[in-house]
């Protein structure tokens, strides 16, 4: 206890030097947490994007629906049931069928997806699906637009087969192109108003899947409709994130070494500078072990102070960033769509607590290491301030 008090007094007594070290060390804390938060936030972003663009709060799938086998689409649709979920925001039904488009004499197989233009759950700009002259308004993603060489205002012929297998074809007008990171709403697909597609397919009031709003809670499955929750729909992304986690650990280690460096430097300097003091302590009857303990304690206390200081400015700073996001400036943006890409760092309690704990342990070890030298000092020489 004595050594603790002594260590604290020594630290605070050193004034500017201590506070410089503490501030620098607190920076290391914040940067370790921040860097991990960015990486974590980036991983989460893929999930967030999928929720925003495609899956909402989960989807009801028609029992026969299989997104990986478009040949089954013919048998996977039914009347949209009422009361699947209880939420203020109405769920969004989507009808899916296969079709062929002929851009510039080429032939491209596509998935045609019907969605209500007035929907608000997904980020798809469905409100742009308005046409003036009777043609069907369609929106497509950037990747699809590039692949099919289509631009806003272009017309393209769509051929499909209705529920009876009868061929039909209509002109589509591209009324909007959207930029998304979610290829599963973009590549190889065309979005048109649900009512049009139901009409075209002779499938009034039918859908293939139903997107529920976020926070609507889990849906009740029925015989015809199976509820697919986030765990199911985001499984692929989750496994990638798990695999990437190990990479973050290496980054974290490098950052930890940076913090170590900060402590080590100060500690070595202070032992060198304070040889006289060490000599005095030993002369006054402290055992060498006690002196080592005192110096180790001083070093470790640095990290405690750093944690406190870091918390004072770090918590508001990190919190603000996690809420406001960090703007990632991107130069290339095609189709005149400015991408305001924001990354939201994610800090878990485990990350913060773990980092503080490990930095403290590491600081203590790093403080102890140069302090061992003390044990080798000859007290009389030390007292004279002789460099050894």
């Amino acid at each position: 206890m004595l050594s603790f008090k002594l260590a604290l007094r020594n630290l605070l007594g050193a004034g500017l030097r201590t506070w410089l070290n503490v501030v620098v060390l607190s920076f290391s804390f914040i940067i370790i947490i921040w860097t991990k938060g960015i990486l974590e936030g980036w991983d989460r972003q893929a999930k967030a994007d999928m929720i925003k663009w495609e899956i909402g709060g989960g989807q009801f799938w028609h029992v026969n629906y299989d997104p990986y086998d478009p040949l089954t689409l013919d048998e996977s649709h039914d009347r949209i049931p009422a009361g699947l979920i209880s939420s203020v925001q109405p769920p969004v039904p989507v009808l899916i069928t296969q079709g062929t488009i002929y851009p510039g004499g080429r032939m491209l197989s596509v998935l045609v997806k019907g969605i209500p233009p007035e929907q608000k759950i997904l980020a798809l700009p469905t409100a742009k699906m308005v046409s003036a002259d009777g043609e069907i308004a369609a929106i497509i993603g950037k990747a699809m637009a590039e692949n099919a060489k289509l631009d806003t205002g272009d017309y393209v012929t769509l051929r499909w087969r209705d529920r009876n297998g009868t061929f039909d074809a209509r002109e589509l007008k591209i009324t909007g192109i959207f930029d998304t990171n979610v290829p599963t709403v973009d590549v190889g697909q065309i979005w048109i108003p649900l009512a049009e597609l139901q009409d075209m397919m002779l499938l009034p009031d039918e859908a293939t899947l139903i997107v529920t709003p976020e926070n609507a809670g889990p849906g009740e499955a029925t015989e015809e409709w199976v509820f697919r929750d986030h765990e199911f729909l985001l499984a692929d992304i989750e496994s990638i994130i798990r695999a990437k986690g190990s990479v973050g650990i290496i980054v974290w280690l490098i950052l930890l070494m940076m913090a170590m460096l900060a402590v080590f430097d100060t500690q070595v300097l202070s032992i060198f500078r304070r040889q006289k003091e060490i000599g005095t302590c030993v002369a006054l009857g402290m055992t060498r072990g006690q002196v080592v303990k005192l110096f180790t304690m001083e070093g470790a206390l640095h990290s405690v102070l750093a944690a406190i200081v870091g918390a004072i400015y770090g918590i508001p700073l990190l919190f603000l960033q996690s809420v406001r996001g960090i703007k990632i400036p991107l130069e290339s943006s095609d189709f005149g769509l400015a991408m305001a890409e924001k990354l939201y760092p994610v800090y878990s309690a485990a990350l913060v607590a773990g980092t503080i704990l490990i930095v403290m342990i590491v600081t203590t070890i790093v403080s102890y290491w140069p302090s061992r030298k003390i044990a080798k000092l000859n007290p009389t020489e030390a007292l004279r301030g002789r460099i050894q």
């Binding site: 030097r17 410089l20 990986y68 990747a143 980054v251 070494m257 300097l269 991107l330 290339s332």
Partner: protein
């Protein structure tokens, strides 16, 4: 004078060794951080590259236009000669022929009639050559779930879930139903050698991996391949190098009027990867900038403390008649020498570590046991031109600023006061 200061530094180890070591370590960490971040943030890009885009991809122009449908009727012909020429033209690259195809996998009953079938996506790679780099590239050995890797003609791998759905075990026969590159209907029998798990639903649902030679027979694609992927020998994507390669290739092979002339596409032009490439790059930039800032602060602090602790000495020097400006100047030259050599040493060690991490990589497979994903478990750093100089920013500049700041005290304080600090 510099010589004088030099000997001073070398003789007084406490004045030189510790600051030198601290600077060198800081710079080393910066260099390693930069190389590791560059390499690892590109990991998703790398995963895509290995599976589908390559770092660059060669196709016919007509194929490139319809790439999403993998139209093998528009495949590259005469790949045998091309594969001999390419390594000579682009010694910095490794090339791999690939055939991507679609079809149906049909399982016979005991009478040879259909018992089960399912839609399949296929990748034709060099499976059977000894030491084929493709096996490592697709991480096949560690993704193997059942059975073994193909060693004989007409042996294939299937995704595990697909094999389960078709009730197939290693050793069983399966028939690929597809169309040849001329559009003919084709049936080809294969033997299941083993099953693999990708950790990606789309791939796990119905993937066949077959050897190029077998597929050429099955799909009537003699000396043809849909695509030739190019990989930088360094193992990680680098936009500067691939752009140069792409420009050189297209200047030589691309003919605007001929739809079957060869075209090379750079990774950002493929599969919408441009966004990911730029985004990763920007995030790396931000993380590295902040890291350098923090490291600068640490080294600045070290320089500042180093300067502060020598106030006594300065007092003494001033007392015996040295000019303030001269003391200040020597101090700065000293720290420049330390900063420069520290940065040099730090960059050298950092580069050595980064080079090891780039060439050998770090197998983090042991940390990914629960992640059943075909992502390569070996992660690599990547050295770019920036890696060479980035360490000097915190190493030379910030330590310098620290010293300069500490030195300001020489001007502010009285000689007597500085002298007193000698006693402190």
């Amino acid at each position: 004078m510099i010589k004088f200061l030099f000997s001073g530094l070398i003789r007084d180890k406490h004045r030189s060794l510790i600051p030198f070591l601290v600077t060198a370590t800081g710079v080393m960490l910066t260099v390693v951080f930069h190389a590791w971040m560059t390499g690892v943030l590109g990991n998703s890009i790398e995963f895509n590259a290995r599976f589908s885009t390559g770092h660059v991809k060669i196709m016919t122009r007509a194929y490139a236009e319809n790439m999403s449908q993998t139209p093998n009727d528009l495949a590259i012909l005469g790949t045998d000669t091309l594969m001999n020429v390419l390594p000579q033209l682009f010694p910095e690259m490794l090339f791999a022929e690939r055939i991507y195809f679609g079809g149906i996998v049909d399982i016979p009953d005991k009478n040879g009639e259909t018992r089960a079938q399912g839609p399949a996506m296929g990748i034709g790679i060099d499976l059977l050559s000894e030491n084929s780099p493709e096996i490592e590239r697709l991480n096949l050995a560690s993704s193997l779930k059942n059975g073994q890797l193909p060693v004989n003609k007409n042996e294939v791998l299937l995704s595990n879930k697909f094999a389960e759905k078709l009730e197939l075990s290693p050793g069983d026969t399966l028939t690929l139903v597809s169309t040849t590159m001329y559009g003919e209907f084709t049936l080809h029998n294969f033997t299941l050698a083993g099953t693999v798990e990708f950790g990606n639903t789309a791939l796990d649902r119905g993937t066949v991996i077959a050897d190029l030679r077998d597929l050429r027979e099955a799909l009537n694609m003699d000396a043809a391949a849909g695509e030739i992927l190019g990989f930088l020998k360094t193992g990680t994507y680098d936009v500067v190098q691939t752009t140069a390669v792409t420009n050189r290739f297209n200047a030589r092979f691309l003919v605007e009027e001929d739809e079957f002339s060869l075209v090379m596409k750079n990774l950002p032009e493929l599969n919408n990867m441009g966004f990911l490439v730029e985004y990763s790059d920007k995030i790396k930039g931000i993380l590295v900038a902040v890291f350098i800032f923090a490291m600068s602060l640490i080294l600045w602090n070290a320089g500042l403390l180093g300067g502060l602790r020598r106030y006594g000495e300065f007092g003494m020097r001033l007392a015996i008649g040295e000019e303030k400006s001269h003391v200040y100047l020597t101090m700065i030259i000293e720290s420049s020498i330390i900063g420069f050599f520290g940065s040099l040493a730090g960059t050298a060690t950092g580069l050595a570590i980064a080079l090891y991490l780039q060439n050998q990589g770090l197998d983090l497979g042991f940390m990914m046991k629960n992640a059943s994903i075909m992502m390569p478990s070996v992660f690599r750093a990547q050295i770019t031109p920036a890696t060479w100089y980035i360490g000097f920013i915190p190493g030379v500049i910030s330590a310098q600023i620290g010293t300069m700041l500490a030195g300001m005290g020489i001007y502010k304080r009285q000689t007597s006061q500085l002298f007193k600090e000698l006693e402190a």
